[in-house]
C-alpha cells in the first residue's frame, strides 16, 4: 500500500487552508471588514449615485423641462444618498 495519494491530498488540503487563512487574516489587518456599512456604496459614483437607478450607457438626451412630467421618481431619500460621504482611496480624481 502506498501513502503517496493520501500525502498528496493532505498537501493540497494544507495549501488550500493556508491560502484561505492568509487571505482572511491579511484582510482583517487591512481593515477590509471594518466599517462594512460604507462598503456597499463603493459601486456608486458621483454621476451614478445611490438613489438613481442606472441601466444605460449612452448619454440620455433628456429635456430638462420634462422633469416635471408624470413618471416614477427615483428614490432620493437623504438616508439613501450617502455617496457624498464616501471617500474612495485612489479614486479617479488622479486621472486626466
Amino acid at each position: 500500500m502506498t501513502y503517496v495519494p493520501l500525502l498528496t491530498i493532505f498537501v493540497i488540503l494544507i495549501t488550500g487552508a493556508a491560502i484561505t487563512l492568509t487571505v482572511l487574516f491579511r484582510s482583517i489587518q487591512d481593515g477590509q471588514f471594518s466599517n462594512l456599512e460604507s462598503g456597499a456604496y463603493v459601486i456608486f459614483d458621483e454621476d451614478e449615485p445611490v438613489g438613481v437607478p442606472q441601466d444605460q450607457v449612452f448619454w440620455q438626451d433628456s429635456d430638462p423641462d420634462d422633469a416635471s412630467s408624470d413618471h416614477t421618481s427615483p428614490d432620493r431619500s437623504p438616508e439613501n444618498d450617502r455617496s457624498a460621504d464616501l471617500s474612495v482611496n485612489g479614486s479617479s480624481s488622479s486621472t486626466s
Partner: protein, 494 residues
Amino acid sequence: MPESQASETEVLEANWRRKVDRSTKWPVVAFIASGTFWLLVGSVFAIIASLKFNMPDWLVQQGWLTFGRVRPAHLNTVIYGWISMTGVGVATWLWARLLKTELRGRWLLMGSVVLWNIGMTIGTIGILAGYSRSIEWVEMPLAAFAFIVPAMAMVTAAFLITLRHRRVHHLFISVWYTGAAMIWGPFLVIAFLLPIYSGVPESMANWWFAHNILGLWITPIGIAAAYYLIPKVLGRPVYSYHLSYLGFWTLALFYNWAGVHHLVGGPVPQWSETVSIVFSMMMIIPVVVVAVNHHLTVVGHFKKLIYSPTLRFVVFGAMSYTAVSLQGSFQSLRFWQEVTHFTHYVVGHAHLGVYAFATMILFGAVYYIMPRIMDWEWESPRLISIHFWTVGLGIGMYVTALTIGGTIQGFQLLDADVAFLQIVEDLKPWLWARSVGGTLMVIGHFVFAYLLYRIIRRSGVAQTGPTYFRPAPEGMFGSRAADVKASLEERPGL
C-alpha cells in the same frame, strides 16, 4: 457652473469608468464570443441527445453520433466552453470596474482565450472520436486539459496583476466572489487531474470535483455578477452588506465538504457520505443569506423587470439560485437520494443550477456589459424579448418535466411490481416535454448569438438611449449622464 452641468468630479469619474471599461474590451469580447460559440455547439449536441430519448433509433449508424458520445460532448462544451469562458469574460469586466483600474495582463487573457479554445476543440473532438475518459464532468481527454489548465492559470495571473494595481481600498463583495473563483477553479481542476486516484477514491474525488466546480467556480461568478448588477441597475445598495460577507465565508467554508453525497448507496464509507450530507444542509445558511439579500434589494422595484433586460435575466437567475440550492440541500438527504438517484430528476436539478441560475445571470450580465465596452447599444428589444421568453419558458418546461417525471421514475424503480418497460413508457411524455423545452432554449441561444454578433460588429442604427423591452417611463432609469455629457463636450480633456 450652470445647474445642468455636472461637477468636475462627476466628469472625471464618468470618463475614468469609460476608460476602465474600454481597457477590458478585447479580452471580454473574445471570452464572451468564444463562450457563445461553444454554447451553440453544446446546444446542438444537447438537442440531439434529448431527441434520442424520443427516437432511440435516430442517428445510431455512426459511433460519434451515439448518445454515449454526444451527451458528454454537450456537458463538456457547455461547462468548460460556454459557462467557464463567458464567466471569465464577465468576471474580467467586473474585476476591472470594481477595482476601478485599467485591466492589466491583457496579453495573458488573450493568450488564455487561444489556449482555451484549442483545448475545447481537442476535447470535443476527442470525446466524439471515442477518447472520453468516462469520468462524468471530466470526459475530455487529458490533452485538452493540457491547454485549459494553463489557460485558467493565465486568467488568475492577469487578475492578480490587476488586483495589485487597484485604485480602491475596500474590496466590494463581488470582488471576493470573483477572486475566490479564480483561485478555486484552477485549484479544483489541478487537484482532480493529479494521477493519484483509482477505484472508489476516484469516484469520490470525481463527485467532489463535479459538485465543487459548480459551487466554487460557476456559482461565485454568478453571485458576484448579481451582487453588482442588481444594486447598480436599481440604484440601491445591497440590502445588508454584512450578510453578504456571511454568505461568502460560509460558502467558502461549507461548500467544498459536499459532493460525496452523490454516491449515497455506493460502496463508499458511510461517514464520508454523512459529512457531505451535513455540509449540504449547512449550505442553507449562505443560500438563505444571498436569497434574503437579493430579494430585499429588489423588493419594491419589481416593476423595473418589465423594462430592463439585464435586471430581468439577473433576477430570474438569482431566484433560481435559491431554488436550486435549497433543492440540492434536501436532495442530499438519504431518503430522497434513494428515490431520485439515477433518475431524470438529477438532470433537471443540474439544469436548474447551471442554466436557470448561472446561464441566465450570464445572459443578463452580457446585456449590461457589451454596450459599455462596444459603445453601441443592442439592436433589437424584440429579439432580446424573444431570447428571454424562449429560454425562460424552455428551462421552466425542461426542469418541471424532469422533476416530475424523474420523481415518478424514482418511485417506480423502487417498486419491484412495476416492470422496467412500463417505467420507460411512463417517462415518454416527460421526455417529449424535455425536448420541446430544450428546442425553445436552442432557438433562444441562436437569437442571443445573432444579437451578440450584431453588437460586436456595431451593426444597425445608432441608438440614442438604452435598449429596454419597452419604453421606460422617464425617470425610472436615469443618471446624471446627460449633465456629464454636456460637460465632457465642453471640456474633452478631462
